[in-house]
């Protein structure tokens, strides 16, 4: 994804993620792609190592997909990690362009049911965005390098990746 494409996608995801955080009452919401690139974020994102979380979530997504394949369980719908104080909800957002991953971190202000409820609405909103309507160019080496460059630029930029 080119730098300008990334900016456009991040701008498009801003409102859906903001609404999701507000309605589901999660602390943090991240939307990343399969490569672990952060495409959208909202909430208390400065409390966490966003880039690390995104990379680990992408890895968990891939691992869960492989596990589901091994178990003949089909495609997975979400992963829920119930911690002592905080919980994490990881779920794929399937679009014609690519599969995105939502990472939502929440505490006792929300619940799994509430997150699931508003996640379904988030998916509908994201799927309606023009940025995710049509499949883009294939993931060749050039686009991979563009992704890498864009991600590096965001990590190294002093502004950070944006968000709340």
């Amino acid at each position: 994804m080119r730098r300008e494409d990334l900016d456009r996608v991040m701008a498009a995801l801003r409102e859906p993620t903001r609404r999701f955080v507000q309605e589901a009452r999660v602390r943090t919401c991240l939307v990343v792609n399969g490569a672990g690139q952060v495409l959208g974020q909202h909430g208390f994102t400065r409390s966490y190592e966003i880039v690390n979380i995104a990379a680990l979530a992408a890895a968990a997504h891939a691992a869960a997909g492989a596990l589901a394949g091994l178990l003949d369980a089909g495609r997975w719908t979400h992963l829920h990690n119930d911690g002592e104080r905080q919980q994490m909800f990881l779920a794929p957002i399937r679009t014609p362009v690519e599969e995105l991953i939502l990472i939502a971190i929440f505490d006792e202000d929300s619940s799994l049911g509430l997150v699931q409820l508003f996640f379904d609405q988030l998916v509908e909103q994201v799927q309606q965005l023009p940025e995710f309507q049509h499949a883009a160019a294939s993931g060749d080496q050039a686009s991979f390098e563009r992704d890498l460059e864009a991600a590096a630029h965001r990590i190294l930029s002093t502004d950070g990746p944006g968000g709340a």
């Binding site: 006792e108 619940s111 049911g113």
Partner: protein, 116 residues
């Protein structure tokens, strides 16, 4: 606590005239444990929102020193939602506007007591 008890409690509640659905909800997760809802009423959103509303109201009640919240009753144009705490779960009843609210509340309380 076994599933038979959950089902027995729900069946009794569902027989109250005007009750369109009843469920037992895991309060922490906000998801239904067992549910008997009228056709077209999905239990998951009702469970999530009822649990969230109950927890928030309970917090507000504690904030104004009202003590522990026992029952939450929501009235709308077309019906009522009654929620009663039962330990880690809650009993939720969705009733039509014309339902006898006193009876619905009584049965919801009985159901909650049976689960404790």
């Amino acid at each position: 606590m076994n599933n038979d008890l959950f089902l027995a409690v729900l069946q009794r509640l569902s027989r109250v005239p005007g009750v369109r659905g009843a469920m037992i909800v895991d309060m922490a997760a906000g998801v239904p444990v067992v549910a008997e809802m009228a056709d077209g009423v999905p239990p998951e959103p009702v469970a999530a929102l009822a649990a969230s509303l109950f927890r928030r109201t309970a917090r507000a009640a504690e904030g104004v020193a009202f003590g522990r919240l026992q029952t939450l009753q929501l009235e709308a144009d077309a019906g009522h939602v009654v929620v009663a705490e039962a330990g880690e779960t809650a009993v939720v009843a969705v009733a039509e506007r014309s339902a006898q609210l006193g009876l619905v509340r009584l049965e919801v309380h009985r159901a909650a007591e049976a689960l404790l």
